[in-house]
Symmetry: C2
Subunit: 258 residues, 2 copies
């Protein structure tokens, strides 16, 4: 018997899932992974995920972990077996071992989300399922000035889904908001990279929804600082749609890996 | 009455279409565009496309043209009206005017296709509908050496779908085959850019299918030159799947545009 932890790096297209967290009778990422792991390992498995993504939210670098039992197949064949069992919209990119007690959720140092926006009058085609078409031009400089107000450790209560307030501390640390023009499959997109230690429920989507208010000229950049200080959900902007958001990467201490 | 030509730049996701060319009872790009144009312009319209893409092949920069009647709405509202009528998998990116007699097909100087490959054991996720997962590593240098044999003006009969041979000249001019590693939505892809004056039926897909034979080590680079010289379809490699191919861009003489 070993007490190592098995860690999976997982990608998924959020459109076909009712979010990450297991829910009876619904197709979820956790449910589909635990089912496939149960078939391959021939025993019930409960996984922990780094980010509990909402329905419709995608992941490129979601991380999940579960305790090793000593009976695992070799890691490469574990990925292959899982990919043969999951739908093509859920991919296990790699499997590795971490130290005993490692938890994809608790051990994470930082999480990076990316939100894709398509400005302008032309609807997106290849990016239509991973980007929010905002239909008008965006002032990226104004969005960057607004974003500066959020960097650092703050009470982000104004940027938490109302139904999840009052369930613990709303202090979080935001390390980076980077807003850049880029191309995906030849289409012009605006990428909002958001890195922080951890995120409240819908926090990235409310930040992006608020930044878009500024980018469209409906609010000025300083408004975002005032919304933050108010600690009131209604002071911030609307929640951006789920399908534009992707959990991109999760960072762990180097020494966790075996 | 004016005799200008209306030109549309069109993107589409090939999955939902039985190819570009109109066919009774089937959903095609030409059929859907002509239907939408008929509704907006209140008269029957026949369009000409720069590339008759096969079923499943995508386009970022397909170009179609039709004679102006003098009764068109302003160009910007024409795009918007058409996009409101087509499915979300067919987008009119812009509309413009070209000189009388302009034809999206006959006036084209060069066409660029891009073919996306995903090597290695991890299935693609975000790129699964626009790239061919070849499952093993690809030797890009060997593919580049093989591609050199095809550059220039040649009889490409060996790279033409068998059912379309004997329907005219099989001489074409290939200007560029560039093979590069890149990322789309964070996923590693190999992009094969192919530029030429015009292409035979399935020519890009047979070229890519042959380059992949070399990249996987099943054939050496000089084999591709021998296949070309044989002028026999069976001497070249298999036809790569349609869903990895995108008509990327079509080049016209600058002076065509009004």
């Amino acid at each position: 018997m070993t007490d190592r932890t098995v860690v999976l790096h997982v990608s998924y297209d959020g459109a076909g899932f009712s979010g990450f967290a297991r829910q009876p009778g619904l197709r979820t990422v956790q449910g589909e992974l635990e089912h496939a792991l149960g078939v391959v390992l021939r025993q019930p498995v409960e996984v922990v995920g780094a980010g509990r993504t909402d329905a419709g939210v995608h992941a490129l670098g979601q991380v999940v972990s579960f305790p090793a039992t000593g009976a695992e197949p070799p890691l490469e064949s574990l990925s292959r077996s899982l990919n043969a069992l999951t739908g093509e919209d859920l991919v296990v990119a790699s499997a590795s071992f971490a130290e005993p007690g490692f938890s994809a959720r608790r051990s994470a140092l930082a999480r990076e989300y990316r939100y894709f926006l398509v400005p302008g009058p032309v609807p997106p085609l290849f990016t239509r399922k991973t980007a929010w078409w905002v239909k008008r031009p965006l002032n990226l400089d104004a969005m960057r000035r607004a974003a500066e107000h959020l960097i650092g450790e703050h009470d982000f209560a104004a940027f938490c889904a109302a139904e999840s307030l009052g369930k613990g501390s709303t202090f979080r640390r935001l390390d980076l908001i980077e807003i850049a023009s880029d191309r995906e499959m030849g289409e012009h997109v605006v990428v909002v990279r958001v890195i922080g230690n951890a995120f409240l429920h819908s926090m990235v989507r409310i930040i992006v929804g608020s930044l878009v208010e500024v980018g469209l000229g409906r609010k000025d950049a300083s408004w975002l600082g005032e919304a933050l200080q108010s600690r009131k959900r209604e002071a911030a902007g609307p929640t951006a749609p789920a399908h534009g958001l992707t959990l991109w990467h999760v960072e762990y201490p180097e020494e966790c890996w075996l």
